[in-house]
């Protein structure tokens, strides 16, 4: 899944034209208010308890599934003749949903409350310009990778803590 996220990001950027498709493109300053950033200082992360970590990851992947859907729609508008990209976006969304389900199961197993599903996108997204949609897609695919990395770390910690 981690490998898929990096492939998705590369594929996504490849279809957005320069400068997105330029080698080494990165715009860490771009953020989406509706999508929590995966970047967190080690100290903060370390200070979190399991419930908080799981809760944040769960919230992030909930937002990611919705955002990936949105990006898929955007790209079917911008790149309708690119089935590879559209398929990868769809697959990523399904994986995010799968991970979300797993985390819900873990939280249930740990006796943690599952946050209710909410619409993280709101109404603002529909009037976005093409450039905003490209940037939005970039942020979503980037954060999808970051959150996957973080979730792997979170779950590994949990696994170490609760063996079998």
């Amino acid at each position: 899944m981690q490998k898929n996220t990096s492939t998705l990001l590369q594929t996504y950027l490849q279809y957005q034209g320069s400068p997105f498709s330029d080698p080494g493109f990165a715009a860490p300053e771009l953020q989406l208010s509706s999508l929590p950033s995966a970047a967190v200082s080690f100290k903060t992360w370390h200070a979190m308890d399991d419930a908080e970590r799981l809760s944040r990851a769960q919230g992030a992947f909930l937002a990611l599934t919705q955002h990936l859907q949105l990006v898929g729609d955007d790209q079917s508008d911008l790149n309708p003749g690119s089935p590879v990209l559209l398929a990868q976006l769809g697959a990523a969304r399904l994986r995010a949903q799968g991970l979300l389900g797993n985390m819900a199961a873990i939280m249930t197993a740990l006796g943690l409350p599952i946050p209710p599903e909410e619409d993280t996108l709101g109404l603002v997204s529909f009037g976005a310009s093409a450039f905003e949609r490209k940037c939005r897609g970039y942020i979503v695919t980037r954060e999808y990778g970051h959150w996957t990395d973080r979730a792997v770390r979170d779950l590994a910690l949990l696994k170490a803590k609760y063996p079998a």
Binding site: Y15, Q16, G17, S18, P19, F20, D22, A27, E29, L30, Q75, S76, D77, L78, N79, P80, G81, S82, S129, A130, F131, E132, K134, C135
Partner: protein
């Protein structure tokens, strides 16, 4: 001021004219006086006259204003009077007045003041300025997406005489510099009504990036108004401003533009913009105001699918937009409309040049039909590549004529293409389905298929493809009346019974447009029919003549018309009928026991549909005695036979053949040839090269068949595979008789054309003779073309010689293998005898004759060869007295007699003693024989031995023959005496030995043998020392004619040169006789070796 001046000056002139008109010469003086006073009065007023200025807004009312004279208050105006007008005076108390427009021309205006002052003006329309009101009802709006300003205003034309021309001037100011970025003027016409005008302006810079203000003014040009036309004041500026939202900072957003055009992007930023780029290309920044910047892109290229990105980078953020550059739709190409089923019309086209735009910006196509007024739209996001676009239009029932227009639209424009069709002429039916075949009879089937669609009003043209299994293909056309959603039925005739056919169908309409695709294939086997003829029949009597064997051939499939199940055979004669029925098919031969009568044999083939017509043949064979067996050779895989036409043969000819090695009755196959033919080519897969076949040509008459010709032949001759088996019948000394046997026909593999016989000298184990090299000159070849010849005598051979014999047979196919044999000829005994007897006889005769001659001429010989010579006696005496008779040497040397007895009697002892002395003396000479021969004649002292007696042995002819004149004594002193004793002992045994070797010391032998015959002569001979007598040697030297005259043999034997020579004067050839050693050589050897020479 100008107006004013003009107005004042004419008034003065009017006065002066009037003055001139009223004054006359009688009154000239008084007039001059008055003029003077008037001028004086006027000069007083002139300083007080001020400007009169008139303007008009609508050419109906003039608004005039003037300045009162100095010292006069504007409030003291009493009235203004205009001459030539009713109610010409207007009372008022100000310095401006509105008056109705005056007619063209000058008008005198007088202004009276309360204080009595008066001002007079001349007023003309030309001096009036037309200054329209500022344009009103001004509205300004902006289309941000297209960066366009829309200006609207009302010309209030109802207030002006019409038609008038209005000229407008509009300025666009860009904040904050307030410099006009656009100033434009244009004309309109006032038509007496209030008209709203509009003006649009597209800004290069997106409107969001600046604030824009717009002002307008105008002037009116009315042709009847002769005054000044003056611009109105500028209207109040209308502003367009855009309130930036926080998210979007780059403009324009998501713009679709034509590829190749220019576009400006601007970025509104609070912080410094570092760079601006489109795609990968960085562009120079155009600074607007504040931190706002713009970049200008010229000749933009076609975007990729997701558009071209334009990105501005600030110190802390990135702003961007996407532009989609592409093309308007191309005119749809190859627009083609057709129907498959009269339910819908399918129109297809090629979009032409790609627009470069996808998704929502892709081209939408609308197909509209003008007669029905219906339309359908084609919309899809992705662009089809290399594929034609299709749209289906639902047909209205009954509508045949259609006028289609296809319009393609995208954000950059639209294009259209039209087609006008009669749909009944554009029918491309669907694929026929459900193809079925049904038998009607063995040659006719019915084909049925279903064709979806409503073809009720037209006829269908269909093609039926009929394929036989043998890939023979036939296409037949069928026209059927169309129907709605119907199946169609067609009968297909002229088929062959019991044949597997493959059918398929495709359809079009009578007004051909396109064929449908071929339907699926349908295989069908037609039913059987009775065989069309009886089988090809032949008959043979068995070898014992009791049974008639009937042969028939299976019918070819096209004549069998089905699967042959069995055959029925009947043999009918005048007396009886025998039948064999239900002979099952694989059997094509039957045997019937019959008497030797004439029968008619009838063969019938049966299949499931019935029996064939009978095939009849007579059993009778008419004898023919004039049959000659002929030969024929084929060509490759066939053989050609021809014959003379025989009018008696009425039915046909039959050629049958069989392998000649097979026993009778032999039948491999037969063919029937029509009676009018005289030749045929027989081909059969059974024919093999190198196999002999018998061909029999029969002619058919009413009575039966008669053998006409018998031919043996090969379709191809091959070389024999075995060699003829041959033996040697007889051998003699010079000939061999060879006999051989025939090669069996199976191994001959062709017609025998002859034998090749080679022979060569050679022995079995000699490698050279194992194989014959044809080019070898020793090989003798005999080509025996008479194949009946079975023997061959080879003559002129050598006796007792081994010969290598080879025999090969050959055909036109080549040479067969060879068989070889070694034979040795016998010895030739007669020749041997003759060869011995003749030389012996000749030798005897010569010996006798010589002896007689010598005897008769002995005196002469003695005179010639043995004259009295004293010197040899001295020599002898010197020699022997040194050793034997010592002390009286000087005396005895000169004596002749004492030496003679020594010569005879002291032979034994002398042979030893002188040997030692000679050895001592001669040794130095013997070591250098070459020198000694030269030194001999001069050194008399050293060479003191007795030279050998050179005896001519006439009695031994073999020595002459074998050695010839080269049988010369050469021996040196050392070896001279050694063989001396032995020849004496062996002399009686074999004189031949002596003949080969003649040492000097033969002298005593000869003298002993002939002592009785010629004692004196012998004495002389014994005492004769030719070497010592130089003079004598000179006389008998080989070069002297005398020597030659006397006897050549003597000359040879007596050659002084050879006496001392240790070299061989004879050729080495004589030494090569190995058999001559010791026992000498015989005549047998001589003859044996002679052929080898």
């Amino acid at each position: 001021m100008g107006v004013y001046l003009r107005w004042k000056q004419p008034s003065w002139m009017v006065d002066s004219i009037r003055m001139r008109m009223t004054s006359h010469l009688p009154w000239l003086l008084s007039a001059l006086t008055l003029l003077h006073l008037t001028v004086q009065a006027h000069s007083l007023k002139r300083g007080t006259i001020q400007d009169l200025k008139c303007t008009t807004k609508n050419m109906l009312v003039w608004d005039c204003t003037w300045t009162p004279p100095v010292g006069v208050s504007p409030a003291t105006v009493k009235e203004v009077c205009i001459k030539d007008r009713l109610h010409s005076c207007h009372r008022l108390e100000s310095t401006n007045i509105k008056i109705a427009a005056l007619s063209p021309g000058d008008h005198e205006v007088t202004i009276n003041y309360l204080n009595g002052f008066q001002s007079k003006f001349t007023l003309n329309e030309k001096d009036v300025s037309l200054i329209p009101d500022t344009p009103a009802s001004l509205s300004l709006s902006a289309d941000l997406s297209s960066s366009t300003l829309h200006l609207r205003w009302n010309d209030k034309g109802s207030a002006f005489p019409y038609p008038s021309n209005a000229t407008w001037e509009i300025k666009v100011l860009q904040n904050p510099s307030m410099e006009p970025v656009k100033l434009v003027s244009f004309n309109t016409t006032l038509n007496g009504q209030d008209t709203v005008h509009h003006w649009d302006w597209a800004s290069e810079l997106p409107l969001q990036c600046a604030t824009y203000s717009v002002g307008i003014r105008w002037y009116i040009d009315y042709h009847r108004f002769s005054g000044y036309k003056v611009w109105s004041d500028w209207s109040l500026l209308k502003n367009i401003s855009w309130t930036p939202n926080s998210e979007t900072n780059v403009f324009p957003q998501d713009k679709v533009i034509l590829a190749g055009s220019d576009i400006t992007f601007c970025c509104i930023s609070q912080t410094k913009v570092l760079s601006g780029q489109i795609g990968k290309t960085f562009c120079p920044l155009i600074h607007l105001y504040g931190e706002n910047v713009a970049i200008r892109i010229q000749n933009i290229s076609v975007s990729e699918n997701s558009g071209t990105n334009v990105v501005f980078t600030t110190e802390d953020n990135v702003y961007g937009t996407v532009v989609f550059a592409g093309y308007p739709p191309d005119v749809p190409q190859k627009l083609n409309c057709e129907t498959h089923d009269f339910k819908e019309v399918i129109c297809s086209w090629n979009p032409g040049r790609p627009t470069g735009l996808v998704g929502p910006r892709n081209t939408d196509y609308t197909l509209s039909e003008s007669i029905s007024g219906k339309s359908v739209t084609f919309k899809r996001f992705e662009t089809l590549t290399n594929e034609s676009y299709r749209l289906a239009f639902q047909m209205l029932p009954g509508q045949e004529i259609h006028n289609f227009t296809l319009t393609g639209r995208n954000p950059l424009g639209h294009a259209e293409s039209a087609v006008f069709i009669n749909i009944t002429e554009r029918v491309a039916p669907h694929v026929p389905v459900s193809l079925r075949v049904k038998d009607i009879n063995s040659t006719v089937v019915s084909l049925a298929w279903h064709l979806p669609g409503n073809f009720a009003k037209i006829n269908l043209l269909c093609e039926i493809e009929i394929c036989k299994a043998s890939s023979e293909q036939e296409v037949r056309n069928a026209t059927v009346k169309g129907a709605q959603e119907s199946s169609y039925l067609v009968a297909v005739d002229k088929l062959t019974p019991y044949t597997l056919y493959t059918f398929r169908v495709r359809c079009s309409t009578e007004t051909f447009w396109k064929w449908s695709k071929w339907s699926n294939e349908k295989r069908h086997l037609t039913t059987e029919a009775i065989p069309s003829r009886g089988p090809d029949t032949w008959r043979e009597w068995s070898s014992d003549g009791k049974n008639l064997i009937i042969y028939w051939k299976p019918l070819p499939i096209n004549e069998a018309n089905g699967k042959i199940l069995s055959y029925n055979i009947s043999c009918t004669s005048n007396e009886e009928t025998q039948s064999l029925s239900e002979i099952l098919d694989p059997q094509h031969k039957a045997e019937i026991q019959l008497e030797r009568n004439d029968y008619i044999i009838s063969v019938v083939a049966k299949n499931s549909a019935g029996s064939s017509p009978p095939s009849k043949i007579a059993s009778t064979e008419i004898p023919n005695d004039d049959i000659i067996v002929e030969q024929a050779v084929g060509m490759g895989k066939s053989i050609f036979l021809s014959w003379h036409a025989d009018p008696n043969m009425t039915c046909d000819y039959v050629i049958k053949w069989c392998n000649s090695s097979h026993s009778e009755p032999c039948l491999m196959d037969w063919i029937k040839v029509p009676s009018n033919s005289t030749e045929t080519i027989i081909e059969s897969d059974q024919f093999q090269p190198g196999v002999r076949y018998n061909f029999y040509l029969y002619g058919c008459t009413n009575q039966g068949y008669q053998l006409l010709r018998s031919i043996i032949g090969y379709i191809e001759e091959l070389a024999p595979i075995v060699a003829p088996n041959f033996t040697v019948e007889d051998t003699s000394a010079d000939s061999i008789l060879v006999k051989w046997e025939d090669i069996p026909v199976e191994e001959l593999r062709g017609f025998l054309r002859g034998y090749l016989f080679y022979f060569q000298k050679g022995e079995r184990d000699t490698p050279k003779t194992r194989t014959f090299e044809t080019g070898h000159s020793d090989i003798k070849l005999k080509n025996i073309t008479d194949i009946s010849q079975k023997t061959l005598r080879i003559a002129d051979l050598q006796g007792k010689t081994s010969y290598h014999l080879v025999l090969r047979a050959y055909t036109h196919g080549g040479l067969g293998p060879e068989k070889s044999m070694f034979v040795v000829t016998k010895e030739n005994s007669v020749g041997l005898i003759i060869a011995i007897l003749i030389p012996v006889a000749v030798a005897v005769v010569v010996g006798v004759v010589t002896s007689i001659l010598c005897y008769r001429k002995r005196e002469w010989i003695k005179e010639t060869f043995y004259p009295d010579i004293p010197n040899p006696e001295n020599c002898k005496a010197l020699q022997f007295q040194k050793s034997i008779c010592e002390g009286s040497s000087a005396l005895k040397t000169l004596e002749m007699n004492p030496c003679t007895p020594n010569n005879v009697e002291v032979l034994e002892s002398r042979s030893i003693v002188p040997k030692i002395e000679d050895t001592e003396i001669i040794s130095p000479v013997a070591e250098r024989p070459g020198e000694s021969s030269e030194a001999d004649p001069e050194n008399h002292v050293v060479v003191s031995y007795c030279p050998p007696i050179i005896e001519e042995e006439i009695a031994n002819p073999s020595a002459d023959e074998a050695g010839g004149n080269s049988q010369v004594v050469y021996i040196d002193v050392q070896s001279m005496y050694q063989p001396q004793a032995k020849p004496e002992e062996e002399q009686g045994i074999d004189p031949g030995v002596v003949a080969g070797y003649k040492p000097q010391m033969r002298l005593p032998i000869n003298s002993a043998a002939e002592d009785t015959a010629a004692e004196d002569e012998a004495d002389k001979t014994a005492g004769y020392r030719p070497q010592a007598n130089v003079n004598t040697w000179n006389l008998v030297s080989p070069d002297s004619p005398r020597s030659t005259d006397s006897n050549s043999e003597i000359v040879s034997f007596g050659s002084p040169c050879s006496i001392n020579s240790r070299q061989f004067l004879i050729p080495p050839k004589d030494e090569d006789f190995p058999k001559s050693n010791g026992g000498g050589w015989s005549f047998t050897n001589f003859f044996q070796n002679k052929p080898n020479d």
